[in-house]
């Protein structure tokens, strides 16, 4: 600890160079933090998609019938069931379709895509044309509890009265684990069933007793509807999510490749800076040796400087990444609402590794320097 001032002074020996290097480290970690934030977003979505929950949808753009729900409920191994029907429509901006899912109360027991209280659930169930909206949607549309909200759906999503304008009453504004990126509403299936001329079901969720049976039970469910008008496609929710996320390409690979590449570039950069620094400060190190520092002690100071530089840069960079994370929404990519402990831990490990590894070459060179030669200016 008593060498801290020495390390600190060494770090600022050439302040312009240190600042530039620091900026490069900061940039690298802003990038690192953002990339990890995106991949954490994917991971969180995946983690919210349990393997012991099956999702049945109609294959071939066809929706299931309400009769299918009861058939799935009776499949052995299925312990709990819920279902949704979705519509979409637009309000002011025709390019921003908004979705509403119609559910029964049990939906909230099984899925947690919104954080909702018992009282809010009861209020929704009591209000025939009630709708719960996410905070993200409420913010964008300027909605508050008690407001009317109407969506103009495409003509094919008609109501019994022949129009396709869906009117709702806002009963609650709720948070989503995905933050304000989640913009949708949840209404009552009973209402949908009442006003829609030919009510269907978009997806049936079935909780099963043991996730090991997912594939077998999924096949059994699909067999039920194989020769019907509406064949189904059942997968565990995990598999569904992976397919959905995978449809945008191999994000995990991209994130890892870029993050690794950036760290490699950084390693190279800091190693070079250290090399210069060590070369220039050789006489100082020689003096330290003469003052009684062991060679290991001098090495330790160099390593500590490098790691300190990387850690300071990483800390600033991660703060920057946390601040910039909401901007990711602009691209449409999913991301975690905040930097996770995992991301921060990874950054600390990466910074320490880069710092330590970048010392290898400079230290190797230092070993070959003779104190006498250096002090003699040779």
């Amino acid at each position: 600890m008593k060498f801290l001032p020495l390390i600190w002074a060494g770090l600022w020996r050439k302040s312009a160079r240190t600042v530039l290097t620091l900026m490069a480290v900061v940039t690298a970690f802003v990038l690192f933090g953002l990339l990890e934030n995106v991949s954490d977003g994917f991971r969180q979505i995946e983690a919210r998609s349990p393997e012991d929950r099956l999702v049945t949808i109609g294959a071939f753009s066809k929706r299931l019938t309400i009769a299918a729900v009861e058939q799935i409920r009776r499949v052995p191994g299925v312990v709990q069931i819920c279902y949704v029907a979705g519509i979409f429509g637009v309000t002011k901006d025709p390019r921003q379709p908004r979705g509403v899912n119609f559910v029964e109360d049990t939906y909230f027991d099984m899925l947690d895509d919104v954080i909702i209280t018992r009282a809010e659930r009861d209020e929704l169930a009591r209000t025939r044309d009630g709708i719960v909206v996410t905070r993200g949607l409420a913010k964008e549309e300027g909605l508050k509890i008690g407001d009317r909200y109407s969506l103009t759906a495409p003509p094919s999503i008609k109501l019994k009265d022949g129009t396709s304008v869906w009117n709702f009453q806002i009963v609650a504004i709720v948070d989503s684990p995905f933050g304000d990126n989640a913009r949708f509403g949840i209404g009552n299936y009973a209402y949908y069933n009442e006003v829609r001329p030919n009510p269907t079901v978009g997806a049936v969720f079935a909780k099963i007793a043991d996730s090991k049976d997912a594939v077998r039970i999924g096949k059994e469910i699909d067999k039920l509807f194989q020769n019907s008008d509406t064949p189904s496609r059942t997968n565990s929710q995990r598999a569904f999510t992976q397919s959905g996320l995978g449809s945008l390409g191999n994000v995990e690979f991209l994130v890892n490749a870029v993050a690794l590449g950036v760290m490699f570039m950084l390693l190279f950069l800091t190693a070079n800076v250290l090399m210069q620094s060590v070369r220039e400060r050789a006489p100082e190190f020689a003096v330290l040796t003469i003052l009684g520092f062991s060679p290991e002690g001098v090495f330790g100071i160099v390593v500590a400087e490098a790691i300190a530089l990387c850690l300071i840069g990483a800390a600033i960079g991660m703060v920057g990444a946390a601040a910039a994370a909401p901007l990711i929404s602009l691209t449409g990519a999913p991301h975690a609402p905040t930097l996770t402990l995992r991301a921060i831990g990874l950054a600390v490990v990466a910074a320490t590794l880069v710092g330590a590894l970048s010392c290898v070459m400079p230290l190797w060179r230092m070993r070959r320097m003779s104190t006498v030669d250096v002090l003699a200016g040779r």
Binding site: T21, M23, L31, S247, L269
Partner: protein
């Protein structure tokens, strides 16, 4: 000695001594290579996607959808309306005077990707008898044409390479029974290559769907759009919109297109910024290293401008070497590779304009990273520089 000759002399000197600064200089080269490789790969994927949509559309083709429908989602055209739409003036006619148009039905079909075993949805497109005239670019490369009234399908070449179970003779389970793959077609890189094609009536019967999804027509010329659009949108008995084919597909894949482009730009510029700091460091060090040289040159009567230019050019050369390396990395590892994005098979293409953008980025980094060190070099007091000897 004139300025040009001075520049040439200083430049020769700085480039010749480059090998002495191999370590710091390689920071720029490696950094730049990484930036350009990432940027070009992602941007090329976006360009590849765009190309797939461009090749798959023709300016003289129009898709008629229900008013207010978002893509094929929610579009539904009745049997009564279809003939009216087809009969619109401006629609191209064949030698028999029949309009070159077809009713279509689209369904998403879940398939398994060969690459990772995950599910992806691709489109199955039901078309009428005039389809091959509406899409003349769809040509059969294996097997035979499907027969109308039978449960037979053609598969696109890219769909066949990317998804499981699409060989000729394979059975595909659709509502109401199995369909047989009887042929393979290609559009030479268009979006159609990712789809499957069958008979519209048979497909609608199988889906027990009463209405068509869209009507697709060829026009007399691309300029006939205004005429066709006016004719069908002002017809009070129709509630439909005419959309150019390219706009239709752009809308369908808007999300992925935007995501690719913004990611390429965001990653590219952040990485470039990091490299600028690295370049500044390297170039300041280079200038300090060469203080003696520069001082001597100035003492000999060389001007400041040649010094500035020589430092800038050195930065440029280093960035250029990095950019070329990065381009080669991207080109060798990814050019021609196929990716499935939102059910569309996209070939990554490293094209000249994208390489140009990469080179532009490299030049920008060189300029930002070289300018301040260059100015410092030119401003260095000659006496101090020489005293450093």
């Amino acid at each position: 000695m004139n300025t040009l000759a001075q520049i040439a002399a200083v430049l020769r000197l700085s480039l010749r001594t480059l090998s002495q600064r191999r370590g710091p200089s390689s920071v720029i080269v490696i950094g730049m290579a990484g930036v350009v490789a990432v940027f070009i790969s992602l941007q090329s994927l976006a360009v590849g996607f765009r190309t797939v949509l461009d090749l798959g559309s023709r300016p003289d083709r129009v898709i008629v959808v229900t008013k207010g429908a978002i893509g094929t989602l929610g579009s539904s055209i009745s049997r009564a309306d279809a003939p009216t739409i087809v009969d619109t003036p401006g629609v191209k006619r064949d030698i028999d005077g029949a309009p070159i148009a077809t009713t279509s039905v689209f369904a998403d079909i879940p398939l398994i990707k060969k690459s990772d075993g995950l599910m992806a949805f691709t489109m199955i497109h039901g078309v009428g008898p005039k389809a091959m005239q509406v899409w003349p670019e769809r040509r059969l490369v294996a097997g035979r044409m499907f027969q109308s009234g039978l449960r037979e399908l053609l598969v696109g070449k890219s769909a066949q390479t990317q998804f499981e179970g699409l060989e000729i003779g394979d059975q595909i389970i659709l509502p109401g029974g199995d369909w047989t793959v009887v042929g393979v077609y290609t559009t030479d890189g268009g979006i159609g290559d990712s789809m499957m094609v069958g008979d519209v009536e048979t497909l609608m019967a199988a889906l027990s769907q009463a209405n068509f999804s869209t009507v697709n027509v060829r026009m007399d010329s691309p300029d006939a759009f205004a005429q066709v659009n006016a004719a069908i949108t002002t017809n009070p008995s129709l509630a439909v919109d005419a959309v150019r084919e390219i706009d239709f597909y752009t809308k369908r894949y808007e999300f992925a297109l935007k995501l690719l482009r913004t990611t390429a730009l965001a990653l590219g510029s952040l990485m470039a910024l990091g490299t600028v700091f690295g370049a500044l460091n390297t170039m300041y060090a280079a200038v300090a290293d060469r203080g003696r040289e520069i001082g001597t040159l100035r003492a000999l009567g060389f001007g400041g401008a040649p010094v500035v230019i020589s430092v800038l050019v050195e930065a440029l050369v280093l960035c250029a070497i990095g950019a070329v390396t990065g381009t080669l990395i991207a080109w060798i590892s990814f050019d021609g590779s196929e990716h499935v994005i939102q059910g569309a098979v996209v070939t990554l293409r490293v094209t000249l304009p994208v390489i140009g953008m990469g080179v532009g980025l490299a030049c920008l980094v060189a300029l930002l990273g070289g300018l301040f060190p260059a100015i410092r070099a030119a401003r260095m007091p000659i006496v101090d520089a020489l005293r450093a000897v």
